[in-house]
């Protein structure tokens, strides 16, 4: 297997591993740009994964699965909104609570309903989002360079993968080219400006938080019924936090968010590939280095060694008019 094939293989893996990060980080982008910190991304993703797998198993339809995943994730978003917007509670605390509740609930319900150690039953092919072979993938496969890239990296992914890459320019467009986006960015910087412009800060922030829930619904669904064929206990396994790291790494901007997620996905894919192989002169590189690398990179960024990351000014602070 030559280097090019290896590269293609790693890139294919990178794409698959980045998708949940992209959806989730974009979710965080909408929420945090509106001034609501969201460390409950992890929990929402997990809850959505469980809901989608359960619904897809019961109905046999991935679409019902997706809808349920989104629905449950939205419900968690509403809780976060209720706590941090309506009740002006601490957003971090609310996020922590959501992560706990989601991890616990999915395990408890999964165990009680399916008795498979918290797993949901495996899904048949048509209850999942299967791979989509793009036109000409097989024909082009043998064309040097472009062929394998097209056939193995670009083609053959499932619908949600393509949606994730579509969501990036769409998010950009929404944020920078629509009224909603303008207001959303404004409310994360100075909610007073939005309020005095006659716009409801509360409703605007709720919408942002709901968009976040909507997108987490996709990432959870992807995990459970596109990438895998069942829900597994704690299957988000910290991806929500990596997405958060990617969001910071990208300085809260949509296209860099995608690039950061791809980078972190690549690190993961590369770690898988490097596992058990030894590098000449160094020996086997411990997988733990790759696992820690996204976080280390983000901290390096935060240390100001590679630019600086300034969060939205009103981020994390509830909008309080009257003491």
């Amino acid at each position: 297997m030559d280097y090019f094939d290896i590269l293609v293989s790693i890139l294919g893996s990178t794409v698959r591993l980045s998708i949940p990060l992209i959806f989730t980080a974009l979710a965080g982008l909408f929420s945090e740009r509106a001034g609501i910190f969201d460390i409950g991304l992890e929990g929402k993703m997990l809850a959505a994964a469980f809901a989608s797998a359960t619904a897809a198993y019961l109905t046999g339809s991935p679409w019902v699965g997706l809808a349920s995943g989104i629905g449950v994730s939205l419900a968690f978003s509403l809780v976060h909104g209720f706590a941090s917007i309506t009740n002006r509670g601490n957003q971090i605390v609310s996020g922590v609570a959501i992560n706990f509740a989601a991890a616990g609930l999915t395990a408890v319900l999964g165990h009680a309903w399916f008795r498979q150690g918290g797993r949901t039953p495996g899904l048949a092919g048509d209850a999942r989002f299967g791979p989509i072979i793009l036109p000409g993938a097989d024909a082009l496969r043998d064309v040097p360079f472009v062929g394998p890239l097209y056939a193995n990296v670009i083609s053959g992914n499932n619908l949600l993968t393509y949606l994730a890459f579509l969501a990036v320019p769409l998010s950009w467009w929404v944020l920078y080219r629509t009224r909603f986006g303008l207001r959303l960015r404004a409310v994360g910087e100075n909610p007073g400006a939005v309020d005095t412009a006659g716009i409801s800060v509360t409703w605007l922030r709720y919408r942002a938080v709901l968009v976040a829930g909507f997108l987490c619904g996709f990432s959870g669904t992807y995990l459970a019924i596109a990438q895998s064929a069942a829900f597994i206990n704690n299957m988000s396994a910290g991806k929500g936090y990596i997405a958060l790291a990617a969001l910071i790494f990208a300085k809260w901007r949509p296209v860099p968010v995608m690039l950061a997620c791809l980078l972190f996905g690549f690190l993961d894919a590369f770690a898988n590939f490097m596992q058990g192989k030894s590098v000449p002169g160094i020996g086997e590189v411990p997988v733990q280095i790759f696992q820690a690398l996204p976080y280390i990179l983000t901290c390096v960024l935060l240390a100001g060694l590679i630019g600086s990351a300034n969060p939205p000014k009103a981020g994390g602070v509830p909008y309080v008019k009257e003491r």
């Binding site: 150690g117 797993r119 396994a237 596992q275």
Partner: protein, 310 residues
């Protein structure tokens, strides 16, 4: 004698379609035959095993079977506290007078499925995806590699481990990714010895039209036509025997090593994979089995020297 059997699973959950489910099947069989009910417990984390085992012992359950090496130190502790209770630990050895340790010669079973893999592979590359990187799993891999090489001396065996902690048993996503890597590198038969992670391996192989090999329970039915065979580890026997030995006052402590000869490990053949295993393959694997029983083939045990002959 009166028995009040109890069973503590590994952390994968009772219905993991694999290791724990096999243990469950053994207990169910005992219940069906004798009408004696049993209590079981599914710990969902490492810290709960010890408490559950102790709970059973202190509530008078006897014998208490703990499947999974993860409960080794728990059994060491609790068995010392309850010298009158009989304990069984599966996949690990605890040297106490009231503990029976059941270990399997996984290298032998893996050798058999390795032969099938070597013969079924068209690319000359087969894969192995392990769960947690521990000597026990290396033992699976080593036996598999020996078998595959016996079938095809020029075969290349790709191998990956899912992780280094308990979470590696429950990570089908990474299992699937590792499988995809191996497929990309040309492997067309992949053996999963990874608990629930293996479900991802089997799934990915099926999704990509490749063959896979299941483990512990007979997993052939999960993806009919795609699972070449399963390396069956008769954990059910360990459980069943523990209960019925205790009932018949035949319970003995000490180490039981179950291999091909004892029918403790085997390869699975049923209607789901009948089409995949040719007569020629069947003949070869049956011969190997006979040779192992006869002692003419000696499969190297990785754990005997922590290395695998190349």
């Amino acid at each position: 004698a009166d028995v009040k059997p109890a069973l503590v699973y590994g952390t994968g959950g009772k219905f993991d379609k694999s290791f724990n489910e096999a243990a469950y099947a053994g207990a169910e069989k005992f219940k069906a035959e004798t009408g004696i009910d049993y209590r079981d417990f599914e710990p969902t984390g490492d810290t709960q095993g010890e408490q559950a085992i102790r709970n059973f012992a202190s509530k008078g359950y006897n014998p208490v079977v703990a499947v999974s090496f993860a409960w080794t130190s728990a059994i060491e502790k609790v068995a010392a506290e309850f010298p009158d209770t009989k304990f069984v630990i599966v996949d690990s050895v605890v040297d106490l007078p009231n503990v029976r340790s059941v270990v399997y010669k996984e290298e032998e079973g893996s050798y058999l499925v390795g032969i099938l893999a070597g013969m079924a592979s068209k690319t000359g590359k087969v894969g192995f995806v392990g769960g947690m990187d521990i000597p026990l799993i290396r033992k699976f891999e080593c036996g598999y590699e020996q078998g595959a090489r016996a079938a095809n001396p020029s075969i290349e065996v790709l191998q990956n481990m899912t992780g280094t902690t308990g979470a590696a048993w429950n990570d089908p996503v990474r299992g699937g990714e590792l499988t995809k890597n191996q497929i990309d590198q040309g492997a067309d038969v992949i053996y999963a010895a990874a608990g629930a992670t293996g479900l991802g391996v089997l799934q990915t192989a099926a999704d990509n039209g490749k063959l896979s090999i299941g483990v512990d329970s007979n997993q052939n039915y999960l993806h009919p036509g795609s699972v070449l065979t399963s390396m069956v580890k008769r954990v059910d026997l360990a459980v069943y025997n523990a209960y019925s030995d205790a009932k018949g006052d035949k319970f003995s402590a000490g180490v039981q090593a179950l291999g091909v000869k004892e029918d403790g490990v085997a390869y699975a053949l049923d209607e789901h994979n009948a089409k995949l295993v040719t007569d020629e393959m069947k003949a070869a694997v049956e011969k190997a089995k006979a040779d192992i029983i006869a002692g003419t083939i000696k499969v190297h045990d990785y754990m005997s020297d922590n290395s695998c002959p190349k």
